[in-house]
Symmetry: C2
Subunit: 326 residues, 2 copies
Amino acid sequence: MTIRDVAAAAGVSVGTASKALNDRGTLRAETRQRVRDAADRLGFEANAVARTLKVGRTYTVGMITTDSIGRFSIPLMLGAEDALGAGQMSVLLCDARDDPIREQYYLRTLLTRRVDGIVVTGRRAQARPPLAPDLPVPVVYAFVSSTDPADCSVVPDEAGGAAKAIEHLQAIGRRRIVHVTGPEHHSSAQVRASAAVPALVRPPLFGEWSEAWGRQAGAMLLNEEFDAVFAGSDQIARGVVDTLRSAGRRVPEDVAVIGFDNWDVMVTASQPPLSSVDMDLDGLGRAAANLLLAAINGEPAPGRHVRPCRLVLRESTAIAGAVRLG
Amino acid sequence: MTIRDVAAAAGVSVGTASKALNDRGTLRAETRQRVRDAADRLGFEANAVARTLKVGRTYTVGMITTDSIGRFSIPLMLGAEDALGAGQMSVLLCDARDDPIREQYYLRTLLTRRVDGIVVTGRRAQARPPLAPDLPVPVVYAFVSSTDPADCSVVPDEAGGAAKAIEHLQAIGRRRIVHVTGPEHHSSAQVRASAAVPALVRPPLFGEWSEAWGRQAGAMLLNEEFDAVFAGSDQIARGVVDTLRSAGRRVPEDVAVIGFDNWDVMVTASQPPLSSVDMDLDGLGRAAANLLLAAINGEPAPGRHVRPCRLVLRESTAIAGAVRLG
DNA sequence: ATGAAAGCGCTAACAG
DNA sequence: CTGTTAGCGCTTTCAT
């Protein structure tokens, strides 16, 4: 079943059939219709492979997730996939699992398949070395960024997000703010903590990205004076909240708590529901996709593109209340 | 940069170059090497599109996730992607978002691109109508299954998993078991509940797939007598545990609790960590991929392939203890 | 308005 | 052992 068969069925040449099917050239309306009818009748589906070979574009992009696909990559991927799909692009999925060998293998596969471009995503916001030097197709890094400043990366403004969280806590009257977050060596923990530090009543507590650590940190803080917690993640926030409430502190009346990530399952299951900083990963993925599409169309936008985070307010910081201490 | 350039650089014909690069035909070792050197020197990457057009296989499969990619599709996808990658297959990602229009659009895209096969995944274990009748390529359904029994589906044995959970609770001496689960109309809730019912001390409590519902159900149960809870999901289990503990019941001493899904972030964050039923979604994805590869190679295995669930035991059912009631 | 023909990059059958 | 050639299915000049 090729365009030959359609042409034969419609009694025209393949060239004419091609024009009819693609709305090109100048054809009599009647002819066009006749070809289309024949195509429908035969259930003809044009072979994209052949077209690709002819026109030189595959309308395909590769998506490499450096670390394994996790909670962060998903919204990124979906946003990107959706935006690319709107541009008629298909997405080849490559899960590199944090393995440089796999990454290079996938890269070669993608180049061999002549993708029009590549988006690289991953969990770690930290800058990473470029995929490879001098790639023949545009690459955009989403969430992860490249150490080469000439590469196109789109990243969340984590420092800005942290600042918004702090400002919000201050706006509801809190003055004694503490910060509990992930591992000190983790770039996101560092960036968020640095942005918060000027407003903190004590040095940040670094630990793990887990609820258990949140609970532990909460316990450690019980004999200190504070009226707000900015947590480096929703999981940590939830752990903190649990401990505080078990110890009789009211949230948000006694202590307001705000998390980071706005991970639905965490923020809604927490009691009370958590205010949080949303990095808009879906939008990030979309933005990355659009930058890639632009680059493919010859309008690259090199450099780091920083996108704002958004505050999502829920009960855990709901009550402005009075300033309770000091 | 085509094979022509390589041939020219090596001083051979394109045919010879092709053979050298693909280890076909009979060539002098020296010639073969000369061609390879030229290819390396020029950084030649064979054009997979052209090869595809010639040999008729794309070594690409489509992966359609019916509902949006979520917690369940991810391990499925990754398992499948990994297994397919081992077979040199690339994966085209299609997120249909529960929209039949999108699904059909993607299906056409995939057919147009001449994928060698399609895997369909999704969150709902419930059977769904086939993608389309008489597809020219093999399709396998993973987790979701097709209503057409002739289609190839691979699904978890949810009833068996529920039975294992119940047996485990009985094995540690529990006799008054209750079941709290998701919406009654949800196929997974039904299947799991049906398997549990003979062993239950009261009718199942149907509600939602949320922690909040688990808490609520826990509260409703407080004035009943029971020594074990089989929850339809880890989230529900966690909610139940929280309520029980707040009310002074010890888990697992007074009430053993087991969940379903073995969702790491839930089972580990719960206090105590939750025993759970694991559907081995990664293995499911792998199995689906292998069935698809087999079908592509002319050895289809039609029908429903049921895979066992696995019990993962943690503290929430850790203590055998004495039978406390009855 | 339509048809004929060249060619995208590669492989494979057939000559030499 | 190596070169020549004929396509894979489609698009696109260029004639007619």
